[in-house]
Amino acid sequence: MNIDIAGTSLELLPERAAFWRERSTLFVADTHWGKAAAFRAHSIPVPYGTTDNDLARLSAAIGKTNCRRIVLLGDALHAREGRAKKTFAAVAEWRARHADVEVVLVRGNHDRRAGDPPEELGIRCVDAPLYEAPFVFLHHPVASTQGYSLAGHTHPAVKLRGRGLQRATLPCFFFTPTVATLPAFGSFCGNAVISPEAGDRVYAVAGDEIVAIPTVY
């Protein structure tokens, strides 16, 4: 689904990524690579597969968009204990498959403790914010005087109610007049329900589709 924002347009993908066609850039927030590995290191036996699955989804998004660049909006790695060989091997393999795609990480709070991804992965790491008109790339969803913020961090989800006492909570893209928050990309992540106000725009990830959610109802 294409939406107009800050005088340009973004395509929201059900893979939980946003594509900026003008600059051939894919935005992804909160991958939390190695989170399951960190749990295992604390002797909580979470199965393998989450990171592989997430990387496959990221490849799908690259295939769909033919992007030349990926901007990770923080929290690429979950924790220092999650810097497992196997996790990095999976990321390296993924990286090799898309060697021609530039990858930039705008560091988030988890990255500070977990450290940057290994250099050989070829991921350029920078501190937030990164300015690229009309946008500001950062991790914490805060407004900026330099442009419209694209961020992550909160893992936004929207809670819906419908006739027949129906309810559903879905991960979402959350656009306020100054900041856009992307859904958490990592599949082993919880989320936090947002409270949109008039003027905000919300797009839910409903399976393999994006659905616009009216914010006043």
């Binding site: 399951a36 590995a37 960190a38 749990f39 295992r40 290191a41 604390h42 002797s43 909580i44 036996p45 979470v46 199965p47 393998y48 597969g49 989450t50 699955n53 979950h78 924790a79 204990e81 497992a84 819906l160 109610r161 419908g162 006739r163 027949g164 006492l165 129906q166 309810r167 559903a168 879905l170 599949s187 082993f188 992540c189 919880g190 839910a204 409903a206 399976g207 393999d208 589709e209 659905v211 959610i213 009216p214 109802y217």
Partner: protein
């Protein structure tokens, strides 16, 4: 011993002598009788006689272990066991061991355990996790398990079974005696208690229970009495009058929040009773509860509003009246609570039920019928929960380590794990050593290590975390409530506190409190000024109507359909049943009533099998799933003890589904797991399993943020396991537990068998009937959908 009894003006009962003799003979067994009938001394005096007539060793090492389900009972038990020791000059050291035990006593016990020890299953697990355990428990003669009926149907009961197996292995001649209330299946009680030694167990029946009087307070105006609700405070004037009649009254409520609300209501109605009435429930600080219990014993309290926290143990002789707010939901519970009154000889136990809505009058009537017919419920044992087996294996790995084949042989002597397979055992070992199946070993994982065939825990951090999470009772993250000045009040669920703003008032521990702030995992409060405020809700399981009681309710309704209204309750509720008959119909014994009604919420279908909430939960998921196969549709489901509601935005294809076998017991094997997954029931059940198996961890007291990074919700873990490790036996266990524990699989099958032979009566009604009303207003709902998610979301937001 006879002389001692005579000195107290008693005479031993025949059943007590029988137990003493059997004990002297080396036998084990089960004593069953109502509470307060001398079971304690039947079990306790055997080993004392043995000591007096035998060895007379001066300061024997640990000989008798007394296990009680509630920490709250420990002090009283200790006191009543101590009396004969003192009178008979037996120089045994007698102590207790619980989470409350003082550090100085703990330290003494580390060196040497007393001759007799009173403890709980969880504290015993902690003792068994110490390397000295093998030596310390090796002189044990006897284990007594008190209130075994409370434990046996739970995972705590299974924990006790595992501990008993351990102790029997250390002492092949160990004798085990269980004390139990009367149950429908005493054989199972003995089988679970004694494991592979159950054959030849001595079953001793205590004194026959005294007469019980069951009556109810009737609403004055039935036309103004509500059709739904669970608080019942509109009956306040009658309840206050009833309290005034008695000297000391216990008012039982079914939930802790109901308890708080009733306490406030009574105090408002009778402000001059301040200081004479008290509140007692499981979330209150120990000291407050002790004060209440002392007051009850001394007879200084006029009335105590309580929950199941006062169901067990402790005799309160001054209590002469018991009031039950709402239906007791089961015959055994009704009789147990009735037995709390009239402890003096020749006095009749009396329980007065207070309906919270109209149909509860039918339940009271039905429970009297069932009690008269002696239809006491059974407790069904839990079968081989692997989460607990994993926990126990880690405990033993801490307590000196184990060899795999030896521990397997040991756990197979329990009833719960008698059929645990080699594959399951191998899986448990893999789970605790590698985190999962051998093929997908996680190198970074390490909980239990194997060296020369011996399984041990060496990592101190893992040991510490395991000890903190031992125990199988699932509690939500709770937070302590304290005055700013430090005084402790008890604990409430974190989710309740998180909704409060500073300055807001709430009622807790029978007091109006002002919330100040949360500081280091403690909710700080100050005294309120009586402002109105909310009452915390605790997320306990709601009690379900037992199958015995459900059957009696169906019978009473069938009579009503035929115009027979016997007993004061049935006569009182007649106008409501008449309305039901006029608007819809009263279901007959061999009918299944289905009501269809449209409201502003959508299209409702009500089914009335009258089988109790648990069975209905399964039926709701099954019916919704089968209906949703016919066309894309989304249901929200609610249920109570009488029936099931399926609510959808559009009319459901009921007739087509009935023709296609909606009520059929066929294909259950496939349909049930599918419907449970669709309705997310297994996902909810996984919460408890994840905690027991050590997947989720509630944290250290005062933990810091970095620990939080290692916390994930059990729901998230469930999803990850289902997707990436579908063979995980803990997931399979979640399914099994939903089926067997929550839904009582056999009962579900039997119900469908019955329904498929019932005459289906579909009533299309213009407005909700009295029967449907309590379900209709219930907002805790499960959901199930066969619509494509995106389509469903579009329709919801259209």
């Amino acid at each position: 011993m006879n002389a001692w009894f005579a000195s107290r003006g008693w005479k031993p009962f025949r059943f007590q002598r029988e137990v003493w003799d059997a004990y002297a003979n080396g036998e084990s067994g089960l004593i069953h009788a109502a509470t307060g009938t001398g079971k304690t001394y039947a079990a306790w005096l055997g080993p004392l006689l043995e000591w007096m007539t035998g060895d007379g060793e001066t300061y024997p090492p640990l000989r008798v272990l007394w296990i009680t389900p509630l920490r709250a009972l420990v002090a009283d038990t200790e006191q009543s066991l101590r009396t004969p020791l003192k009178d008979l000059n037996i120089p045994w050291r007698m102590e207790s061991r619980t989470g409350d035990t003082r550090a100085s006593i703990r330290a003494k016990q580390e060196k040497r355990l007393p001759t007799a020890l009173v403890t709980t299953p969880e504290s015993l697990a902690l003792l068994l996790s110490r390397p000295e355990a093998q030596e310390q428990f090796s002189h044990l003669h006897l284990v007594i398990v008190d209130e075994w009926h409370e434990l046996m149907g739970t995972k705590r009961g299974v924990l006790t079974e595992l501990e008993l197996a351990r102790l029997r292995r250390l002492n092949p001649n160990l004798r085990t005696w269980g004390l139990s209330a009367t149950l429908g299946n005493l054989d199972a009680a003995a089988a679970t208690l004694l494991g592979d030694r159950a054959a030849g167990a001595r079953m001793v029946r205590g004194v026959v229970p005294k007469t019980v009087r069951i009556d109810s307070l009737l609403p004055e105006h039935m036309d103004r009495f509500p059709w739904a609700g669970h608080l019942g405070v509109n009956m306040l004037p009658q309840v206050v009058a009833a309290i005034e009649e008695g000297a000391t009254t216990l008012v039982f409520t079914n939930t802790r929040s109901q308890c708080e609300i009733w306490y406030q209501a009574i105090l408002e109605a009778k402000p001059d009773w301040a200081g004479l009435i008290a509140i007692h429930h499981g979330s209150l600080e120990r000291k407050l509860r002790d004060w209440v219990e002392d007051g009850l014993r001394a007879g200084t309290l006029r009335c105590v509003v309580c929950t199941s926290s006062l169901d067990l143990g402790v005799d309160f002789s001054p209590v002469d009246r018991v009031i039950q707010i709402g239906s007791p939901k089961g015959v055994a519970r009704l009789l147990q609570r009735a037995g709390r009154s009239g402890h003096r000889p020749g006095v009749v136990s009396r329980i007065t039920c207070v309906p919270t809505h109209a149909f509860e009058l039918v339940e009271v009537c039905a429970s009297r019928d069932a009690a008269l017919a002696g239809a006491i419920e059974s407790r069904f044992p839990v079968e081989r929960p692997l989460d607990l087996l994993a926990q126990h294996a880690v405990t033993i790995a801490l307590g000196g380590g184990f060899r795999a084949d030896e521990l397997l042989a040991e756990v197979r002597t329990t009833y719960a794990y008698r059929q645990v397979s080699d594959i399951e055992w191998a899986w448990v070992l893999d789970f605790i050593t590698r985190g999962g199946e051998a093929l997908r070993a996680y190198p970074e994982f390490q909980r239990v290590e194997v060296e020369d065939g011996v399984y041990r825990v060496t990592n101190r951090q893992i040991a510490r975390r395991h000890l903190l999470s031992i125990g199988t009772i699932v509690a939500d993250a709770s937070i302590e409530v304290r005055y700013l000045s430090g005084g402790r009040l008890g604990s409430v669920e974190e989710s309740f506190i998180s909704r409060l703003r500073p300055g807001e008032h709430f009622f807790f521990a029978g007091k109006s409190l002002e919330f100040v702030r949360v500081h280091q995992m403690v909710a700080q409060v100050r005294k309120g000024h009586g402002e109105a405020g909310s009452v915390p809700r605790w997320d306990g399981a709601r009690m379900a109507l037992s199958s015995e009681l459900a059957d009696a309710v169906r019978e009473r309704l069938d009579q009503a359909r035929r115009g027979v209204f016997e007993g004061p309750e049935m006569r009182s509720v007649k106008p409501v049943l008449d309305t039901q008959a006029k608007l819809s119909a009263i279901p007959g014994r061999h009918e299944l009533l289905i009501e269809r009604v449209e409201t502003s919420d959508g299209h409702h279908l009500f089914f009335y099998p009258f089988e109790g909430r648990l069975v209905h939960e399964g039926l709701a998921a099954l019916f919704a799933w089968r209906l949703s196969r016919l066309r894309p549709i989304t249901f929200s489901m609610a249920m109570n003890d009488y029936g099931v509601e399926l609510l959808a935005p559009d009319p459901a294809p009921l007739e087509d589904a009935l023709a296609a076998g909606l009520l059929s017991p066929a294909n259950l094997v496939d349909d049930i797991p599918a419907s449970l997954n669709a309705a997310e029931m297994a996902r909810r059940q996984f919460r408890e399993i994840a905690r027991i198996a050590g997947l989720t961890f509630t944290g250290y007291p005062g933990q810091n943020k970095s620990v939080r990074q290692m916390q994930a919700s059990s729901g998230l873990l469930f999803d990850v396991f289902v997707k990436y490790d579908s063979g995980n036996l803990l997931i399979e266990q979640a399914h099994r537990e939903v089926l067997e524990r929550n839904l009582e699989r056999s009962r579900l099958g039997q119900t469908l068998e019955r329904l498929s032979h019932s005459e289906v009566r579909i009533m299309v009604i213009q407005r909700p009937s009295p029967l449907s009303f309590p379900i209709l207003v219930d907002r805790t709902r499960h959901r199930l959908s066969s619509e494509k998610l995106a389509d469903r979301i579009r329709r919801m937001t259209a």
